[in-house]
């Protein structure tokens, strides 16, 4: 079932309570409600404020280095033998991933709201680094919550955050990954709500976060749309992006939602295989529930307890997903698929060897699916992969899998 989306339908979402159809909303304890409502009010005001938008655009240009290139991967295309494969190079952004688009925007919001203390959760550490970076630039106190397991597997990013002056809190509770980092960030926020701004890194969480993160990340899709028309003379036939919480994917998809001819593919972490249960693919294999302030597809057991997840990539190792993706799945506008750890690792090696571009392990999931997809398409068709981040941070993980001590 697919619905033809119009501009009018899109501008009506989320609704006043933050719903995308049956998903989204604001499921938090009462202490946070006033802050969320203030944030929503101020954001909706600033969204229309030319000064705020001009500052945001200038920072994206001069500090992040936008626009990021849309690159034709000629050799990868030849090797694949199908549709033209193009890469949207978010890995070339300052700090090496798409995450900074959002942290620039939210830090700007924090400044307008007069909040001096910033908290953030992080999985792979890319959002933590991007948050610590903007805090260093603006002179804001920065606390990053990170699952203890992720602190280990992403030690390079932990050290980067420390160099940037952030305090990294290793979270020992629960599964010691991204969801637990988010729990502890929420606990800190509820305790320090008067002076603290919570920079959420993905399009999940209570309203208005899915809205504002999507807006800040939509620069990816807007640029891709213009660059496609300019360089290829047409819109792409398919867009492929990895989905953990789903911020790089929504940023890529959103400006194309009304372009019916553009197929959208969100790639979840299939881990050891969907059939093993050891994965992080709520859209492929979960069901709707409520976690971290919003209703969305979740991985849970029959009693509504959140299930453990597995992915080789820390950034995708999350049992939920942004509510707008849940909505896009249910109305049939976007396709959600998964690839396994092994497929992602192969894709990492392939892109590195064939194009000299080392993608993040998260991104490698999108590469793996896009190559399979392109092979089934005609040579005159065009696939764009969102290269959401670079792979330097994952070199220890790769080396370890190769049995090499660095």
């Amino acid at each position: 079932m697919s619905v033809k989306l119009t501009e009018e339908m899109l501008t009506a979402l989320p609704d006043a309570q933050g719903h995308f159809g049956a998903f989204g909303g604001r499921f938090v304890s009462e202490t946070l409600m006033d802050s969320l409502m203030t944030l929503e009010r101020e954001y909706l005001r600033l969204k229309k404020d030319p000064e705020f938008q001009a500052t945001f655009d200038k920072d994206l240009a001069d500090y992040v280095g936008r626009p990021s290139p849309l690159y034709f991967a000629e050799r990868l295309t030849r090797e694949t033998g199908g549709a033209q494969i193009w890469l949207k190079r978010e890995d070339l952004n300052h700090t090496g991933a798409h995450k900074v688009n959002n942290t620039i925007g939210q830090a700007l919001l924090a400044s307008f709201l007069g909040k001096k203390r910033i908290i953030a959760e992080t999985g792979a550490g890319q959002h933590g680094v991007a948050t610590a970076t903007v805090c260093a630039r603006l002179g804001l106190e920065c606390h990053v919550f990170m699952g203890a397991e992720d602190v280990q597997r992403q030690s390079l990013n932990v050290y980067r955050m420390k160099l940037l002056g952030a305090k990294v809190h290793a979270v020992e509770s629960g599964s010691r990954t991204l969801k637990d980092a988010m729990n502890d960030a929420m606990r800190d926020w509820v305790t320090n709500v008067d002076d603290t701004f919570y920079i959420i890194g993905t399009v999940a969480g209570p309203h208005p976060y899915p809205l504002l993160v999507r807006d800040f990340q939509s620069v990816i899709g807007r640029e891709t749309r213009n660059q496609s028309l300019e360089k290829a003379g047409k819109l792409p036939d398919a867009l492929v992006a990895c989905v953990g919480g789903g911020s790089n994917a929504i940023g890529m998809f959103y400006p194309f939602l009304t372009d019916e001819s553009v197929q959208l593919y969100g790639v979840e972490a299939g881990g050891l295989g969907i059939e093993t249960g050891q994965h992080a693919a709520p859209l492929c294999a979960g069901r709707p529930g409520v976690l971290h302030g919003n209703r969305t597809y979740l991985m849970e057991d029959e009693n509504g307890q959140i299930a453990g997840t597995h992915s080789v990539s820390a950034g995708l190792d999350y049992p939920g997903v942004g509510p707008e993706h849940s909505w896009l799945k249910d109305i049939g506008r976007a396709n959600y698929v998964s690839v396994t750890d092994d497929e992602a690792l192969q894709a990492f090696r392939m892109l590195t060897l064939v194009e000299g571009i080392m993608p993040a392990l998260e991104t490698a999931h999108a590469v793996a699916y896009a190559v399979k997809l392109a092979a089934t398409m005609d040579k005159d068709q065009m696939v764009v992969i969102n290269i959401s981040g670079r792979g330097d941070k994952d070199i220890h993980t790769i080396a370890q899998l190769d049995g090499i001590e660095l």
Binding site: Q17, G25, R26, F27, V28, S29, E30, T31, L32, M33, D34, S35, S173, G174, K179, D180, N183, M186, R187, V190, T191, N192, V193, D194, P288, G289, V290, L291, H292, G293, R295, L298, E300, E302, N303, G304, Q305, I306
Partner: protein, 270 residues
């Protein structure tokens, strides 16, 4: 009149304050919860808040997080908690029981199935920490039709407009969270609580229970002086954590904590 309203009205008539303990169901073991509930009734409590364990208790501090982990390790589910309440009701038909927890286990069971099962088990009130009234439009009528009291939180950050709106959606009592923070933190400021509760009393006729930060007879009395009841949680759950294997000692320890609170509250009676 609901069982909760009845108990609170009787107490009010006597000039007394409600003592409301919280424990996590299934902690230290599902077989012990009903016995602990009876022991607390014997120690003089008025209403029991029974925590439904959740894997990701975002509004709770480490003490209740660990209690959730212990309960879940022994397979405690929402259905299991309802079975405990049924068992409790076999010999106690007077003490109200409020289930306190997070929304997702209720979503997984289904709103209507849960509401039916809760009434059947003898549950009186439902407090869902991550469900503000704005998101309760579907579930609230199901509770109302069955005489279940929906209990919502008020916080120091709650505006007057919201206090009125939340009170409109509540019955039984409202639960005032005494400070910005998670359960088990020790940062209660009694003067601030007194001022805010007095203000809440001007905006709603509902009784106001105060929780978070009440750990002993002294804090119970100080908060009881300005409210209609005190909710005591983490200090009890911490006691359970320290006496997981010796249940006789555990019941004695809980009684030793609750007795002085009861006495301190009753000494306020006018």
């Amino acid at each position: 009149m609901s069982r909760i309203e009845g108990v609170l009205q009787t107490l009010k008539g006597q000039g007394r304050k409600a003592l409301i303990p919280f424990i996590t169901a299934g902690d230290p073991h599902p077989d012990e919860t009903v016995g602990l509930m009876h022991a607390m009734v014997d120690a003089g409590v008025d209403i029991i808040e029974l925590g439904v364990p959740f894997s990701d208790p975002m509004a709770d501090g480490p003490v209740i997080q660990l209690a959730c982990e212990r309960a879940l390790k022994h397979g405690t589910s929402l259905r299991g908690v309802l079975a405990m309440v049924s068992e409790f009701r076999k010999t106690n038909n007077t003490t109200p029981v409020v289930l306190m927890g997070y929304l997702n286990p209720i979503e997984a069971m289904g709103y209507e199935a849960f509401a039916d099962a809760a009434v059947k088990a003898g549950v009186d009130g439902i407090l869902t920490v991550d469900l503000p009234p704005e998101e309760a439009e579907q579930i609230a009528p199901l509770f109302a039709q069955r005489g279940l009291d929906p209990i919502f939180l008020l916080a120091p950050t709650t505006t007057d407009e919201r206090i009125r709106a939340i009170a409109d959606h509540s019955s039984g009592y409202v639960y005032y969270v005494s400070f910005n923070g998670v359960t088990g933190a020790a940062k209660i400021n009694v003067d601030e609580v007194a001022a805010k509760v007095a203000h809440i009393h001007k905006l709603t006729a509902l009784p106001v229970g105060v929780g978070f930060g009440i750990r002993d007879a002294e804090t119970a009395a100080a908060v009881g002086r300005v409210s209609d009841g005190v909710i005591v949680g983490s200090v009890l759950v911490d006691t359970i954590a320290g006496n997981q294997t010796d249940i006789v000692a555990l019941k004695r320890a809980l009684t030793d904590l609750l007795n002085p609170m009861r006495e301190a509250l009753d000494s306020l009676a006018s």
